[in-house]
Symmetry: C2
Amino acid sequence: MSGAREGQFADWMKTVQHKVEHELSAFLPPAGEEPRKLHEAMRYTALGGGKRVRPLLVYAAGALFGADERALAHAACAVEMIHVYSLVHDDMPCMDDDALRRGKPTVHVQYDEATALLVGDALQAQAFDVLANAHTVPHDRLVWMLKVLAHAAGAAGMCGGQAIDLDSVGLQLTLEQLERMHQLKTGALLRASVVLGALAGAEVNEEQMQALNAYARAIGLAFQVVDDVLDATADSATLGKTAGKDAAANKPTYVSILGLEESKALAQTLRDEAHAALAPFGDNARHLRDLADLIVQRNA
Amino acid sequence: MSGAREGQFADWMKTVQHKVEHELSAFLPPAGEEPRKLHEAMRYTALGGGKRVRPLLVYAAGALFGADERALAHAACAVEMIHVYSLVHDDMPCMDDDALRRGKPTVHVQYDEATALLVGDALQAQAFDVLANAHTVPHDRLVWMLKVLAHAAGAAGMCGGQAIDLDSVGLQLTLEQLERMHQLKTGALLRASVVLGALAGAEVNEEQMQALNAYARAIGLAFQVVDDVLDATADSATLGKTAGKDAAANKPTYVSILGLEESKALAQTLRDEAHAALAPFGDNARHLRDLADLIVQRNA
Protein backbone atom coordinates (compact mmCIF):
# COMPACT_ATOMS: atom_id res chain seq x y z
CA MET A 1 0.00 0.00 0.00
CA SER A 2 1.18 3.52 -0.76
CA GLY A 3 1.24 6.06 2.04
CA ALA A 4 -1.85 7.85 0.69
CA ARG A 5 -3.76 4.57 0.34
CA GLU A 6 -2.71 3.58 3.81
CA GLY A 7 -3.90 6.88 5.21
CA GLN A 8 -7.24 6.53 3.43
CA PHE A 9 -7.68 3.03 4.81
CA ALA A 10 -6.77 4.15 8.31
CA ASP A 11 -9.33 6.95 8.07
CA TRP A 12 -11.99 4.59 6.78
CA MET A 13 -11.28 2.16 9.64
CA LYS A 14 -11.47 4.90 12.23
CA THR A 15 -14.77 6.11 10.77
CA VAL A 16 -16.27 2.61 10.86
CA GLN A 17 -15.00 1.91 14.38
CA HIS A 18 -16.49 5.18 15.51
CA LYS A 19 -19.85 4.43 13.92
CA VAL A 20 -19.91 0.94 15.43
CA GLU A 21 -19.18 2.29 18.90
CA HIS A 22 -22.00 4.80 18.52
CA GLU A 23 -24.47 2.27 17.09
CA LEU A 24 -23.65 -0.39 19.67
CA SER A 25 -24.25 2.14 22.39
CA ALA A 26 -27.65 2.95 20.90
CA PHE A 27 -28.63 -0.73 20.48
CA LEU A 28 -27.54 -1.81 23.97
CA PRO A 29 -29.98 -1.38 26.85
CA PRO A 30 -29.48 1.89 28.80
CA ALA A 31 -27.20 1.68 31.84
CA GLY A 32 -29.50 3.64 34.14
CA GLU A 33 -32.49 1.28 33.78
CA GLU A 34 -33.31 -1.91 35.68
CA PRO A 35 -31.81 -4.47 35.71
CA ARG A 36 -28.90 -2.07 36.08
CA LYS A 37 -26.08 -4.51 36.74
CA LEU A 38 -26.93 -6.56 33.65
CA HIS A 39 -27.23 -3.49 31.44
CA GLU A 40 -24.06 -1.93 32.81
CA ALA A 41 -22.11 -5.14 32.37
CA MET A 42 -23.35 -5.55 28.79
CA ARG A 43 -22.16 -2.03 28.03
CA TYR A 44 -18.92 -2.50 29.97
CA THR A 45 -17.91 -5.43 27.82
CA ALA A 46 -19.27 -4.36 24.43
CA LEU A 47 -18.23 -0.71 24.38
CA GLY A 48 -14.96 1.14 24.38
CA GLY A 49 -12.64 -1.45 22.99
CA GLY A 50 -11.85 -4.06 20.45
CA LYS A 51 -10.50 -3.84 16.95
CA ARG A 52 -14.00 -4.38 15.52
CA VAL A 53 -12.60 -6.71 12.86
CA ARG A 54 -16.00 -8.27 12.17
CA PRO A 55 -17.84 -4.96 11.78
CA LEU A 56 -15.01 -3.77 9.50
CA LEU A 57 -15.58 -6.85 7.35
CA VAL A 58 -19.32 -6.14 7.28
CA TYR A 59 -18.77 -2.55 6.14
CA ALA A 60 -16.07 -3.50 3.62
CA ALA A 61 -18.23 -6.21 2.01
CA GLY A 62 -21.24 -3.94 2.20
CA ALA A 63 -19.40 -1.23 0.25
CA LEU A 64 -18.90 -3.77 -2.50
CA PHE A 65 -22.63 -4.50 -2.74
CA GLY A 66 -24.01 -1.00 -2.24
CA ALA A 67 -25.43 -1.55 1.23
CA ASP A 68 -27.06 1.40 2.96
CA GLU A 69 -25.83 2.78 6.27
CA ARG A 70 -28.71 1.49 8.40
CA ALA A 71 -28.46 -2.05 7.08
CA LEU A 72 -24.72 -2.03 7.73
CA ALA A 73 -25.11 -0.69 11.26
CA HIS A 74 -27.57 -3.46 12.16
CA ALA A 75 -25.51 -6.23 10.57
CA ALA A 76 -22.21 -4.99 12.02
CA CYS A 77 -23.54 -4.63 15.55
CA ALA A 78 -25.23 -8.04 15.38
CA VAL A 79 -22.01 -9.89 14.52
CA GLU A 80 -20.05 -7.86 17.05
CA MET A 81 -22.55 -8.73 19.79
CA ILE A 82 -22.17 -12.43 18.98
CA HIS A 83 -18.40 -12.02 19.07
CA VAL A 84 -18.43 -10.11 22.36
CA TYR A 85 -20.78 -12.62 24.02
CA SER A 86 -18.45 -15.44 22.97
CA LEU A 87 -15.49 -13.65 24.59
CA VAL A 88 -17.39 -13.12 27.83
CA HIS A 89 -18.32 -16.81 28.09
CA ASP A 90 -14.92 -17.96 26.86
CA ASP A 91 -13.20 -15.98 29.63
CA MET A 92 -15.29 -17.59 32.38
CA PRO A 93 -13.56 -19.84 34.96
CA CYS A 94 -15.09 -23.03 33.51
CA MET A 95 -13.63 -22.19 30.08
CA ASP A 96 -10.35 -20.26 29.68
CA ASP A 97 -10.52 -18.61 33.12
CA ASP A 98 -9.04 -15.36 31.90
CA ALA A 99 -8.87 -12.19 33.97
CA LEU A 100 -7.92 -9.69 31.26
CA ARG A 101 -9.65 -8.80 27.98
CA ARG A 102 -9.12 -5.77 25.77
CA GLY A 103 -6.94 -4.41 28.56
CA LYS A 104 -9.75 -4.51 31.15
CA PRO A 105 -10.80 -7.02 33.81
CA THR A 106 -13.11 -9.63 32.29
CA VAL A 107 -16.82 -9.48 33.13
CA HIS A 108 -16.81 -12.24 35.72
CA VAL A 109 -13.88 -10.52 37.47
CA GLN A 110 -15.36 -7.02 37.29
CA TYR A 111 -18.87 -8.22 38.22
CA ASP A 112 -19.45 -11.91 39.00
CA GLU A 113 -19.86 -15.22 37.20
CA ALA A 114 -23.64 -15.23 37.15
CA THR A 115 -23.62 -11.78 35.57
CA ALA A 116 -21.05 -12.88 32.99
CA LEU A 117 -23.26 -15.83 32.08
CA LEU A 118 -26.33 -13.60 31.69
CA VAL A 119 -24.43 -10.88 29.83
CA GLY A 120 -23.37 -13.42 27.22
CA ASP A 121 -26.85 -14.88 26.95
CA ALA A 122 -28.48 -11.47 26.65
CA LEU A 123 -25.95 -10.26 24.07
CA GLN A 124 -26.64 -13.27 21.88
CA ALA A 125 -30.39 -12.61 21.96
CA GLN A 126 -29.76 -8.93 21.35
CA ALA A 127 -27.69 -9.75 18.28
CA PHE A 128 -30.67 -11.47 16.66
CA ASP A 129 -32.96 -8.69 17.82
CA VAL A 130 -30.72 -6.05 16.24
CA LEU A 131 -30.41 -7.94 12.97
CA ALA A 132 -34.13 -8.75 12.75
CA ASN A 133 -34.80 -5.02 13.11
CA ALA A 134 -32.77 -4.05 10.02
CA HIS A 135 -35.78 -2.35 8.47
CA THR A 136 -34.14 -1.21 5.25
CA VAL A 137 -33.35 -4.76 4.12
CA PRO A 138 -36.09 -6.56 2.15
CA HIS A 139 -37.51 -9.35 4.32
CA ASP A 140 -36.51 -12.18 1.99
CA ARG A 141 -32.90 -11.14 2.28
CA LEU A 142 -33.20 -10.39 5.98
CA VAL A 143 -34.39 -13.94 6.70
CA TRP A 144 -31.40 -15.20 4.72
CA MET A 145 -29.10 -13.02 6.85
CA LEU A 146 -30.67 -14.27 10.08
CA LYS A 147 -30.08 -17.85 8.95
CA VAL A 148 -26.45 -17.05 8.16
CA LEU A 149 -25.88 -15.51 11.60
CA ALA A 150 -27.67 -18.28 13.52
CA HIS A 151 -25.80 -20.99 11.64
CA ALA A 152 -22.43 -19.30 12.19
CA ALA A 153 -23.09 -18.85 15.90
CA GLY A 154 -24.36 -22.33 16.73
CA ALA A 155 -23.21 -25.93 16.97
CA ALA A 156 -22.32 -26.01 13.26
CA GLY A 157 -20.21 -22.87 13.73
CA MET A 158 -18.69 -21.00 16.64
CA CYS A 159 -20.06 -23.14 19.50
CA GLY A 160 -19.05 -26.30 17.66
CA GLY A 161 -15.54 -24.93 17.26
CA GLN A 162 -15.37 -24.09 20.95
CA ALA A 163 -16.46 -27.62 21.78
CA ILE A 164 -13.75 -29.13 19.55
CA ASP A 165 -11.26 -26.76 21.17
CA LEU A 166 -12.25 -28.00 24.64
CA ASP A 167 -11.98 -31.61 23.54
CA SER A 168 -8.53 -30.97 22.02
CA VAL A 169 -6.67 -29.82 25.13
CA GLY A 170 -3.63 -32.04 25.55
CA LEU A 171 -4.24 -33.85 22.24
CA GLN A 172 -1.91 -33.90 19.25
CA LEU A 173 -4.07 -32.55 16.42
CA THR A 174 -3.22 -32.84 12.75
CA LEU A 175 -3.02 -29.64 10.73
CA GLU A 176 -6.37 -30.58 9.16
CA GLN A 177 -8.04 -31.05 12.54
CA LEU A 178 -6.62 -27.76 13.78
CA GLU A 179 -7.85 -26.02 10.65
CA ARG A 180 -11.34 -27.48 11.00
CA MET A 181 -11.51 -26.36 14.61
CA HIS A 182 -10.59 -22.79 13.71
CA GLN A 183 -12.84 -22.69 10.67
CA LEU A 184 -15.68 -23.25 13.10
CA LYS A 185 -14.44 -21.42 16.17
CA THR A 186 -13.47 -18.12 14.58
CA GLY A 187 -13.81 -18.69 10.83
CA ALA A 188 -17.58 -19.15 10.83
CA LEU A 189 -18.31 -15.73 12.30
CA LEU A 190 -15.69 -13.96 10.16
CA ARG A 191 -17.26 -15.57 7.10
CA ALA A 192 -20.71 -14.56 8.31
CA SER A 193 -19.47 -10.98 8.66
CA VAL A 194 -18.42 -10.85 5.02
CA VAL A 195 -21.62 -12.53 3.82
CA LEU A 196 -23.88 -10.34 5.99
CA GLY A 197 -22.18 -7.20 4.71
CA ALA A 198 -22.77 -8.31 1.13
CA LEU A 199 -26.38 -9.36 1.76
CA ALA A 200 -27.03 -6.06 3.50
CA GLY A 201 -26.53 -4.54 0.06
CA ALA A 202 -27.90 -6.98 -2.49
CA GLU A 203 -28.76 -10.52 -3.46
CA VAL A 204 -25.45 -12.32 -3.86
CA ASN A 205 -25.16 -14.78 -6.73
CA GLU A 206 -23.51 -18.20 -6.51
CA GLU A 207 -20.24 -17.08 -8.09
CA GLN A 208 -19.94 -14.01 -5.89
CA MET A 209 -20.75 -16.09 -2.83
CA GLN A 210 -17.97 -18.52 -3.71
CA ALA A 211 -15.47 -15.68 -4.09
CA LEU A 212 -16.55 -14.17 -0.75
CA ASN A 213 -16.33 -17.56 0.94
CA ALA A 214 -12.84 -18.19 -0.44
CA TYR A 215 -11.75 -14.78 0.80
CA ALA A 216 -13.35 -15.31 4.20
CA ARG A 217 -11.89 -18.79 4.55
CA ALA A 218 -8.39 -17.45 3.88
CA ILE A 219 -8.59 -14.48 6.24
CA GLY A 220 -10.28 -16.64 8.90
CA LEU A 221 -7.36 -19.02 8.94
CA ALA A 222 -4.83 -16.21 8.60
CA PHE A 223 -6.43 -14.53 11.61
CA GLN A 224 -5.93 -17.65 13.70
CA VAL A 225 -2.41 -18.34 12.49
CA VAL A 226 -1.43 -14.77 13.40
CA ASP A 227 -3.21 -15.13 16.76
CA ASP A 228 -1.08 -18.17 17.51
CA VAL A 229 2.09 -16.36 16.40
CA LEU A 230 1.23 -13.38 18.60
CA ASP A 231 0.32 -15.60 21.54
CA ALA A 232 3.79 -17.12 21.27
CA THR A 233 5.73 -13.88 20.70
CA ALA A 234 3.93 -10.79 22.04
CA ASP A 235 3.47 -9.68 25.63
CA SER A 236 0.17 -9.33 27.51
CA ALA A 237 0.30 -5.52 27.61
CA THR A 238 0.49 -5.31 23.81
CA LEU A 239 -2.22 -7.95 23.31
CA GLY A 240 -4.58 -6.54 25.94
CA LYS A 241 -5.12 -10.14 27.01
CA THR A 242 -3.02 -12.82 28.63
CA ALA A 243 -0.18 -13.90 26.31
CA GLY A 244 1.28 -17.39 26.16
CA LYS A 245 -1.87 -18.96 27.52
CA ASP A 246 -2.29 -21.50 24.71
CA ALA A 247 1.09 -23.07 25.40
CA ALA A 248 0.39 -22.90 29.14
CA ALA A 249 -2.95 -24.64 28.61
CA ASN A 250 -1.28 -27.26 26.41
CA LYS A 251 -3.52 -26.31 23.48
CA PRO A 252 -2.54 -27.27 19.95
CA THR A 253 -1.62 -24.20 17.85
CA TYR A 254 -0.18 -23.50 14.41
CA VAL A 255 3.08 -22.59 16.11
CA SER A 256 3.18 -25.86 18.05
CA ILE A 257 2.51 -27.88 14.88
CA LEU A 258 4.34 -25.88 12.19
CA GLY A 259 6.86 -23.86 14.17
CA LEU A 260 7.10 -20.06 14.21
CA GLU A 261 8.67 -19.35 10.82
CA GLU A 262 6.44 -21.69 8.86
CA SER A 263 3.40 -20.24 10.63
CA LYS A 264 4.42 -16.74 9.55
CA ALA A 265 4.89 -17.95 5.99
CA LEU A 266 1.46 -19.62 6.05
CA ALA A 267 -0.12 -16.32 7.11
CA GLN A 268 1.44 -14.62 4.08
CA THR A 269 0.22 -17.38 1.74
CA LEU A 270 -3.30 -17.07 3.12
CA ARG A 271 -3.15 -13.29 2.65
CA ASP A 272 -2.26 -13.87 -1.00
CA GLU A 273 -5.13 -16.35 -1.37
CA ALA A 274 -7.50 -13.78 0.08
CA HIS A 275 -6.34 -11.19 -2.46
CA ALA A 276 -6.67 -13.68 -5.31
CA ALA A 277 -10.23 -14.56 -4.30
CA LEU A 278 -11.20 -10.89 -4.63
CA ALA A 279 -9.96 -10.55 -8.21
CA PRO A 280 -13.47 -10.66 -9.77
CA PHE A 281 -14.50 -7.59 -7.76
CA GLY A 282 -11.76 -5.29 -9.04
CA ASP A 283 -10.83 -2.12 -7.20
CA ASN A 284 -14.15 -1.93 -5.32
CA ALA A 285 -12.86 -4.67 -3.04
CA ARG A 286 -9.96 -2.57 -1.78
CA HIS A 287 -11.20 -2.35 1.82
CA LEU A 288 -11.52 -6.14 1.94
CA ARG A 289 -7.98 -6.41 0.55
CA ASP A 290 -6.64 -3.93 3.06
CA LEU A 291 -8.35 -5.85 5.86
CA ALA A 292 -6.62 -9.04 4.76
CA ASP A 293 -3.31 -7.19 4.99
CA LEU A 294 -4.24 -5.76 8.37
CA ILE A 295 -5.13 -9.17 9.76
CA VAL A 296 -1.76 -10.57 8.75
CA GLN A 297 0.29 -7.53 9.74
CA ARG A 298 -1.37 -6.71 13.08
CA ASN A 299 0.67 -6.92 16.27
CA ALA A 300 -2.20 -7.30 18.73
CA MET B 1 -64.17 -30.02 31.86
CA SER B 2 -66.30 -33.07 31.20
CA GLY B 3 -64.62 -36.47 31.12
CA ALA B 4 -64.86 -36.64 27.30
CA ARG B 5 -63.44 -33.11 26.92
CA GLU B 6 -60.69 -33.97 29.35
CA GLY B 7 -59.85 -37.12 27.42
CA GLN B 8 -59.76 -35.18 24.15
CA PHE B 9 -57.45 -32.57 25.67
CA ALA B 10 -55.17 -35.26 27.12
CA ASP B 11 -54.98 -36.93 23.69
CA TRP B 12 -54.22 -33.61 22.00
CA MET B 13 -51.47 -32.88 24.53
CA LYS B 14 -49.92 -36.28 24.07
CA THR B 15 -49.97 -35.86 20.29
CA VAL B 16 -48.29 -32.45 20.49
CA GLN B 17 -45.70 -33.64 23.01
CA HIS B 18 -44.92 -36.56 20.75
CA LYS B 19 -44.55 -34.34 17.69
CA VAL B 20 -42.32 -31.93 19.56
CA GLU B 21 -40.05 -34.73 20.75
CA HIS B 22 -39.77 -36.00 17.18
CA GLU B 23 -39.19 -32.55 15.67
CA LEU B 24 -36.66 -31.51 18.30
CA SER B 25 -34.75 -34.69 17.61
CA ALA B 26 -34.67 -33.86 13.90
CA PHE B 27 -33.62 -30.23 14.47
CA LEU B 28 -30.86 -31.03 16.97
CA PRO B 29 -27.40 -31.95 15.64
CA PRO B 30 -26.86 -35.73 15.34
CA ALA B 31 -25.25 -37.43 18.35
CA GLY B 32 -22.77 -39.46 16.34
CA GLU B 33 -21.10 -36.46 14.65
CA GLU B 34 -18.25 -34.27 15.90
CA PRO B 35 -18.21 -32.45 18.23
CA ARG B 36 -19.86 -35.47 19.84
CA LYS B 37 -19.94 -34.36 23.45
CA LEU B 38 -21.64 -31.07 22.59
CA HIS B 39 -24.20 -32.74 20.34
CA GLU B 40 -24.88 -35.52 22.84
CA ALA B 41 -25.28 -33.05 25.67
CA MET B 42 -27.66 -30.89 23.63
CA ARG B 43 -29.79 -33.95 22.94
CA TYR B 44 -29.47 -35.20 26.53
CA THR B 45 -30.99 -32.03 27.90
CA ALA B 46 -33.53 -31.20 25.20
CA LEU B 47 -35.02 -34.63 24.57
CA GLY B 48 -36.99 -37.13 26.60
CA GLY B 49 -38.57 -34.91 29.17
CA GLY B 50 -40.37 -31.78 30.12
CA LYS B 51 -44.02 -30.87 30.05
CA ARG B 52 -43.51 -28.90 26.82
CA VAL B 53 -45.78 -26.14 28.12
CA ARG B 54 -44.40 -23.58 25.64
CA PRO B 55 -44.80 -25.82 22.58
CA LEU B 56 -48.32 -26.66 23.75
CA LEU B 57 -49.08 -22.94 23.85
CA VAL B 58 -47.63 -22.53 20.34
CA TYR B 59 -49.80 -25.31 18.96
CA ALA B 60 -52.91 -24.17 20.83
CA ALA B 61 -52.58 -20.58 19.62
CA GLY B 62 -51.67 -21.85 16.16
CA ALA B 63 -54.89 -23.89 15.98
CA LEU B 64 -56.78 -20.65 16.56
CA PHE B 65 -55.08 -18.92 13.62
CA GLY B 66 -54.97 -21.82 11.16
CA ALA B 67 -51.22 -22.38 11.30
CA ASP B 68 -49.80 -25.24 9.26
CA GLU B 69 -47.92 -28.15 10.80
CA ARG B 70 -44.45 -27.15 9.58
CA ALA B 71 -44.74 -23.58 10.81
CA LEU B 72 -45.89 -24.87 14.21
CA ALA B 73 -43.07 -27.39 14.45
CA HIS B 74 -40.45 -24.70 13.81
CA ALA B 75 -42.00 -22.17 16.18
CA ALA B 76 -42.60 -24.73 18.95
CA CYS B 77 -39.08 -26.15 18.80
CA ALA B 78 -37.56 -22.66 18.72
CA VAL B 79 -39.25 -21.56 21.95
CA GLU B 80 -38.54 -24.90 23.60
CA MET B 81 -34.84 -24.60 22.73
CA ILE B 82 -34.72 -21.15 24.31
CA HIS B 83 -36.45 -22.54 27.38
CA VAL B 84 -34.14 -25.57 27.63
CA TYR B 85 -31.01 -23.44 27.21
CA SER B 86 -32.20 -21.17 30.02
CA LEU B 87 -32.65 -24.18 32.31
CA VAL B 88 -29.16 -25.48 31.52
CA HIS B 89 -27.54 -22.14 32.34
CA ASP B 90 -29.82 -21.53 35.32
CA ASP B 91 -28.77 -24.85 36.86
CA MET B 92 -25.04 -24.04 36.65
CA PRO B 93 -23.04 -23.59 39.86
CA CYS B 94 -22.73 -19.82 39.42
CA MET B 95 -26.53 -19.53 39.19
CA ASP B 96 -28.87 -21.90 41.08
CA ASP B 97 -26.33 -24.72 41.36
CA ASP B 98 -28.88 -27.43 40.86
CA ALA B 99 -28.04 -31.09 40.39
CA LEU B 100 -31.43 -32.40 39.27
CA ARG B 101 -33.70 -31.35 36.39
CA ARG B 102 -36.62 -33.22 34.89
CA GLY B 103 -35.59 -36.13 37.07
CA LYS B 104 -32.09 -36.38 35.54
CA PRO B 105 -28.68 -35.03 36.56
CA THR B 106 -28.24 -31.50 35.18
CA VAL B 107 -25.88 -31.00 32.22
CA HIS B 108 -22.94 -29.67 34.22
CA VAL B 109 -23.24 -32.67 36.55
CA GLN B 110 -23.65 -35.26 33.81
CA TYR B 111 -20.94 -33.66 31.61
CA ASP B 112 -19.04 -30.62 32.88
CA GLU B 113 -19.50 -26.89 33.33
CA ALA B 114 -17.84 -25.85 30.10
CA THR B 115 -20.11 -28.21 28.17
CA ALA B 116 -23.17 -26.86 29.98
CA LEU B 117 -22.17 -23.33 29.03
CA LEU B 118 -21.71 -24.29 25.38
CA VAL B 119 -24.88 -26.39 25.26
CA GLY B 120 -26.89 -23.39 26.36
CA ASP B 121 -25.15 -21.07 23.93
CA ALA B 122 -25.58 -23.48 21.03
CA LEU B 123 -29.25 -24.14 21.85
CA GLN B 124 -29.98 -20.42 21.80
CA ALA B 125 -28.40 -20.03 18.36
CA GLN B 126 -30.19 -23.16 17.17
CA ALA B 127 -33.52 -21.72 18.29
CA PHE B 128 -33.08 -18.76 15.95
CA ASP B 129 -31.81 -21.06 13.21
CA VAL B 130 -34.86 -23.30 13.51
CA LEU B 131 -37.28 -20.37 13.50
CA ALA B 132 -35.56 -18.58 10.60
CA ASN B 133 -35.95 -21.81 8.60
CA ALA B 134 -39.75 -21.92 8.93
CA HIS B 135 -40.17 -21.94 5.16
CA THR B 136 -43.96 -22.04 5.02
CA VAL B 137 -44.32 -18.69 6.80
CA PRO B 138 -44.27 -15.58 4.59
CA HIS B 139 -41.06 -13.68 5.24
CA ASP B 140 -42.73 -10.52 6.51
CA ARG B 141 -44.40 -12.50 9.24
CA LEU B 142 -41.30 -14.59 9.88
CA VAL B 143 -39.21 -11.49 10.56
CA TRP B 144 -41.92 -10.37 12.98
CA MET B 145 -41.72 -13.77 14.72
CA LEU B 146 -37.94 -13.60 14.95
CA LYS B 147 -38.21 -10.17 16.57
CA VAL B 148 -40.74 -11.50 19.07
CA LEU B 149 -38.48 -14.42 20.04
CA ALA B 150 -35.30 -12.34 20.29
CA HIS B 151 -37.01 -9.70 22.39
CA ALA B 152 -38.54 -12.29 24.74
CA ALA B 153 -35.19 -14.04 25.19
CA GLY B 154 -32.98 -11.01 25.82
CA ALA B 155 -32.35 -8.29 28.35
CA ALA B 156 -35.88 -6.93 27.94
CA GLY B 157 -37.28 -10.41 28.58
CA MET B 158 -36.00 -13.65 30.06
CA CYS B 159 -32.37 -12.60 30.70
CA GLY B 160 -33.54 -9.36 32.27
CA GLY B 161 -35.85 -11.31 34.55
CA GLN B 162 -33.01 -13.62 35.56
CA ALA B 163 -30.87 -10.61 36.36
CA ILE B 164 -33.59 -9.09 38.56
CA ASP B 165 -33.97 -12.48 40.22
CA LEU B 166 -30.24 -12.57 41.02
CA ASP B 167 -30.35 -9.05 42.38
CA SER B 168 -33.36 -9.89 44.56
CA VAL B 169 -31.87 -12.67 46.67
CA GLY B 170 -32.29 -11.73 50.30
CA LEU B 171 -34.36 -8.62 49.49
CA GLN B 172 -37.94 -7.96 50.52
CA LEU B 173 -39.74 -7.38 47.21
CA THR B 174 -43.16 -5.85 46.87
CA LEU B 175 -45.81 -7.86 45.05
CA GLU B 176 -45.39 -5.49 42.07
CA GLN B 177 -41.63 -6.03 41.95
CA LEU B 178 -42.08 -9.80 42.19
CA GLU B 179 -44.67 -9.68 39.40
CA ARG B 180 -42.38 -7.62 37.18
CA MET B 181 -39.52 -10.06 37.72
CA HIS B 182 -41.67 -13.03 36.75
CA GLN B 183 -43.28 -11.25 33.81
CA LEU B 184 -39.76 -11.02 32.40
CA LYS B 185 -38.20 -14.22 33.70
CA THR B 186 -40.88 -16.69 32.64
CA GLY B 187 -43.77 -14.55 31.37
CA ALA B 188 -41.93 -13.14 28.36
CA LEU B 189 -41.27 -16.55 26.80
CA LEU B 190 -44.74 -17.88 27.61
CA ARG B 191 -46.21 -14.79 25.95
CA ALA B 192 -43.88 -15.26 23.00
CA SER B 193 -45.10 -18.85 22.67
CA VAL B 194 -48.70 -17.73 22.34
CA VAL B 195 -47.83 -14.93 19.92
CA LEU B 196 -45.54 -17.13 17.80
CA GLY B 197 -48.23 -19.79 17.51
CA ALA B 198 -50.71 -17.18 16.32
CA LEU B 199 -48.27 -15.56 13.88
CA ALA B 200 -47.37 -18.99 12.53
CA GLY B 201 -50.91 -19.01 11.20
CA ALA B 202 -51.81 -15.46 10.23
CA GLU B 203 -51.30 -11.75 10.66
CA VAL B 204 -52.67 -10.90 14.08
CA ASN B 205 -54.57 -7.65 14.42
CA GLU B 206 -54.21 -5.22 17.31
CA GLU B 207 -57.34 -6.40 19.11
CA GLN B 208 -56.44 -10.06 18.81
CA MET B 209 -52.92 -9.30 19.99
CA GLN B 210 -54.27 -7.56 23.07
CA ALA B 211 -56.48 -10.53 23.89
CA LEU B 212 -53.57 -12.96 23.44
CA ASN B 213 -51.32 -10.77 25.58
CA ALA B 214 -53.91 -10.55 28.34
CA TYR B 215 -54.27 -14.34 28.26
CA ALA B 216 -50.51 -14.87 28.24
CA ARG B 217 -49.94 -12.38 31.03
CA ALA B 218 -52.46 -14.19 33.22
CA ILE B 219 -51.13 -17.70 32.58
CA GLY B 220 -47.55 -16.48 32.90
CA LEU B 221 -48.19 -15.19 36.40
CA ALA B 222 -50.38 -18.18 37.27
CA PHE B 223 -47.55 -20.46 36.19
CA GLN B 224 -45.15 -18.76 38.58
CA VAL B 225 -47.59 -18.58 41.47
CA VAL B 226 -48.21 -22.32 41.11
CA ASP B 227 -44.46 -22.93 40.84
CA ASP B 228 -43.97 -21.16 44.14
CA VAL B 229 -46.83 -23.11 45.73
CA LEU B 230 -45.36 -26.40 44.48
CA ASP B 231 -41.87 -25.44 45.58
CA ALA B 232 -43.25 -24.93 49.08
CA THR B 233 -45.49 -28.03 49.20
CA ALA B 234 -44.36 -30.79 46.82
CA ASP B 235 -41.39 -33.12 47.14
CA SER B 236 -38.40 -33.35 44.79
CA ALA B 237 -39.40 -36.73 43.36
CA THR B 238 -42.78 -35.38 42.21
CA LEU B 239 -41.27 -32.14 40.84
CA GLY B 240 -38.33 -33.82 39.07
CA LYS B 241 -36.21 -31.00 40.47
CA THR B 242 -35.07 -29.91 43.91
CA ALA B 243 -38.04 -28.77 46.02
CA GLY B 244 -37.91 -26.05 48.64
CA LYS B 245 -34.93 -24.40 47.03
CA ASP B 246 -36.45 -20.91 46.83
CA ALA B 247 -36.96 -20.73 50.57
CA ALA B 248 -33.51 -22.25 51.13
CA ALA B 249 -31.98 -19.63 48.81
CA ASN B 250 -33.88 -16.88 50.60
CA LYS B 251 -35.63 -15.87 47.36
CA PRO B 252 -38.81 -13.86 47.48
CA THR B 253 -41.83 -15.91 46.30
CA TYR B 254 -45.60 -15.47 46.13
CA VAL B 255 -45.87 -17.84 49.08
CA SER B 256 -43.40 -15.82 51.14
CA ILE B 257 -45.26 -12.57 50.38
CA LEU B 258 -48.91 -13.69 50.24
CA GLY B 259 -48.92 -16.94 52.18
CA LEU B 260 -50.00 -20.32 50.84
CA GLU B 261 -53.78 -19.95 50.77
CA GLU B 262 -53.79 -16.51 49.21
CA SER B 263 -51.31 -17.69 46.59
CA LYS B 264 -53.62 -20.57 45.66
CA ALA B 265 -56.54 -18.15 45.41
CA LEU B 266 -54.50 -15.81 43.21
CA ALA B 267 -53.74 -18.69 40.84
CA GLN B 268 -57.49 -19.34 40.48
CA THR B 269 -58.18 -15.64 39.84
CA LEU B 270 -55.50 -15.56 37.16
CA ARG B 271 -56.98 -18.69 35.57
CA ASP B 272 -60.35 -16.90 35.39
CA GLU B 273 -58.69 -13.82 33.85
CA ALA B 274 -57.06 -16.04 31.22
CA HIS B 275 -60.44 -17.54 30.33
CA ALA B 276 -62.06 -14.10 30.16
CA ALA B 277 -59.35 -12.82 27.82
CA LEU B 278 -60.16 -15.62 25.37
CA ALA B 279 -63.87 -14.77 25.14
CA PRO B 280 -63.57 -13.09 21.68
CA PHE B 281 -62.21 -16.32 20.17
CA GLY B 282 -65.17 -18.51 21.17
CA ASP B 283 -64.86 -22.29 21.23
CA ASN B 284 -61.80 -22.36 18.93
CA ALA B 285 -59.70 -21.27 21.89
CA ARG B 286 -60.54 -24.35 23.91
CA HIS B 287 -56.97 -25.71 23.93
CA LEU B 288 -55.70 -22.39 25.26
CA ARG B 289 -58.43 -22.52 27.93
CA ASP B 290 -57.56 -26.07 28.86
CA LEU B 291 -53.88 -25.12 29.10
CA ALA B 292 -54.74 -22.33 31.54
CA ASP B 293 -56.55 -24.93 33.66
CA LEU B 294 -53.64 -27.33 33.37
CA ILE B 295 -51.13 -24.69 34.48
CA VAL B 296 -53.15 -23.95 37.60
CA GLN B 297 -54.05 -27.55 38.43
CA ARG B 298 -50.69 -29.21 37.77
CA ASN B 299 -48.85 -30.89 40.61
CA ALA B 300 -45.33 -30.84 39.11
